[in-house]
């Protein structure tokens, strides 16, 4: 049973955590692609920027959370979302809109977004330095240890406070996005523009407004992912940049331009990662006595070691592009 708890901690919990982060990031990437038809490589740095905003706000008002008993950074999250959304809209106005007005090819927009990445990374380092900082400025991270009610279970299921918040907020964000896209006038117009931009314009839909709404949603979601990730580990200026590959893998696995696909893709990549780095020897240990004597299992039976976790989304990305380039849900081919 201890082995099963170990599996839950290292695969189920860890996979859900990275899956949620990837899903939230990939939804933003996929929405931007479906409206503006380019891969937004600066998306991860929007996440880091959101986390930085939460960090700065928490440093400014460190005691804000203690009064109601939730982490200060979480109270600051709505404000961080607003600021990140404003940054995203601003970046679009300054960098992407002039490019669109010239009718450039998507690849030019992609290169432009790489430039934005460099600018954002520089700015973030300028204000936050290069070292890691905890988003728990004045408060303490709660860690829940749930002992399973079985005999002989010594190891508890470990889950942290920010992880629980992450699951709840991911669920709320997904439901809110679903309702927005299917019930609201702007959400439907967004889907319409993704389907057929010319016809959307011909129907009187203000496409500039839809572009702005897309950036607001993508920026807000990026701030959620960045803040909750930094709460769970620590804030680092390059924290989310290394999530760019898994996030794009998730968006492509789900079918680019398909928000629900991006959510599914996020969890596929997240669980694939945690399954790939899991040491399967641990699960086999209880059955060791029944193995033939000549079979000597290595002590580390993971597909890849943790340091090389990044190859997993890369492998998934290559595999999906070869065998199913439109993704699990039918999306557009980049």
């Amino acid at each position: 049973m201890n082995e099963l708890v170990f599996f839950i901690n290292n695969v189920v919990v860890a996979g859900s955590v990275s899956g949620s982060i990837y899903a939230i990031g990939a939804v933003g990437v996929t929405l931007i692609f479906s409206i503006m038809r380019f891969a937004h490589f600066a998306h991860a740095d929007l996440m880091t920027f959101g986390a930085l905003m939460a960090l700065l706000l928490s440093t400014a008002f460190p005691a804000a959370g203690a009064s109601i008993g939730i982490p200060t950074a979480l109270i600051m999250l709505p404000l961080a979302m607003v600021l990140t959304a404003a940054l995203a809209v601003g970046i679009d106005k300054v960098f992407y809109k002039p490019l669109r007005a010239h009718g450039v090819k998507p690849i030019v927009m992609v290169i432009g977004s790489l430039g934005v990445t460099l600018i954002l990374q520089g700015l973030i380092r300028l204000f936050a330095g290069t070292s890691g900082q905890s988003l728990y400025v004045d408060d303490r991270k709660e860690i829940f240890r749930l002992a399973l009610p079985f005999d002989g279970v010594r190891v508890p299921v470990v889950i942290t406070e920010p992880q629980l918040y992450l699951f709840v907020i991911t669920l709320v964000a997904v439901i809110a996005l679903h309702l927005f896209l299917n019930r609201s006038r702007l959400g439907k117009a967004m889907r319409a523009m993704s389907d057929n931009p010319e016809l959307a314009q011909a129907s009187g839909i203000n496409t500039n407004l839809i572009v702005a709404v897309t950036w607001v949603i993508a920026g807000g979601l990026a701030a959620i992912a960045g803040t909750l990730l930094s709460l769970d580990v620590t804030f680092k200026p390059d924290l989310s940049f290394f999530l760019l590959l898994p996030i794009f893998a998730a968006a492509i696995v789900g079918g680019v331009g398909h928000p629900y696909g991006a959510i599914a893709g996020g969890f596929v990549v997240g669980f694939a990662e945690s399954l790939a780095v899991f040491n399967w020897n641990i699960l086999l240990r209880p059955f060791r006595d029944s193995f033939p004597a000549w079979l000597e299992l290595p002590t580390d039976l993971a597909f890849v070691s943790t340091e090389y976790k990044i190859v997993v989304p890369f492998f998934i990305l290559v595999a999906i592009l070869i065998w199913r380039p439109t993704g699990l849900f039918k999306g557009k081919v980049i």
Binding site: D195, E198, L199, Q201, A202, S203
Partner: protein, 234 residues
């Protein structure tokens, strides 16, 4: 004052002109039909009116006000509706959502107009929850017309509404166009099926090489032996 007036319109893509001086006048209660050989600039003229093509000489007036080179969404606000020939629906949106998009600028009108459009196209009501991409060509044309009507336009532009439809559907579409016109909407459409289209036209514009070749009532054009010989296949 005419609903739509085009005076000596020149325009095209880049430096190449496709329209070389087109003139048109359409009254508010009329059906106008643009016919002519391939490459005559028929659809291009429609695009120029709807702000999708740069007009570099001449002017286009809607109820006396210049509208050339205004973006399409501004023209929709001014009462113009456009139904493109291809890709005339949002395929992943349901039929009802397609219609709702037509009233994007007049959200308070949605309920009333939906009822009217369903009344006008009963088959759409049955399929209202189905993605428009799953419909047949004729039904899609109904969705496209319904979407444009949702904005209560005063002028409706149709680019080859019967292209690729069976003759049965074709007559149905022309009947619908007449009904829409009878309800007080000015119509300007481009048609390949010149004879049938001119038969319902108050005004016909025969274009060739980006210029008016003949301009008259539909009836007179059909009766004109020159028009018949050169443009209606004898």
């Amino acid at each position: 004052m005419p609903l739509l007036e085009a005076r000596d319109v020149h325009g095209g893509y880049g430096s190449m002109n496709i329209l070389n001086g087109v003139n048109m006048t359409l009254e508010a209660d009329e059906v106008g039909v643009i016919v002519g050989p391939n490459g005559a600039g028929k659809s291009t003229m429609l695009k120029a009116i709807f702000g999708q093509l740069h007009v570099n000489q001449g002017e286009i007036l809607l109820l006396g006000e210049p509208i050339h080179n205004l973006p399409p969404n501004k023209l929709v606000q001014r009462g113009m509706g456009f139904i493109p020939q291809e890709k005339n629906v949002f395929p992943s949106l349901s039929v009802q959502e397609n219609l709702e998009m037509g009233a994007f600028l007049k959200p308070h009108n949605v309920k009333r107009m939906l009822a009217q459009v369903y009344d006008f196209f009963p088959p759409l009501y049955e399929k209202r929850r189905q993605p428009a991409g799953e419909l047949s060509g004729g039904q899609r044309q109904m969705v496209a017309m319904g979407r444009a009507l949702m904005a209560e336009p005063s002028l409706l532009l149709l680019d080859e509404p019967t292209a690729g439809l069976s003759p049965l559907y074709m007559n149905d579409i022309f009947d619908r166009v007449k009904e829409i016109n009878a309800a007080g909407v000015g119509i300007l459409m481009v048609e390949q099926n010149a004879k049938q289209a001119l038969a319902i036209a108050d005004k016909g514009f025969v274009l060739a090489a980006g210029q008016n070749r003949f301009t008259d009532t539909g009836e007179a054009l059909l009766a004109d032996p020159d028009v018949a010989k050169s443009f209606l296949g004898g």
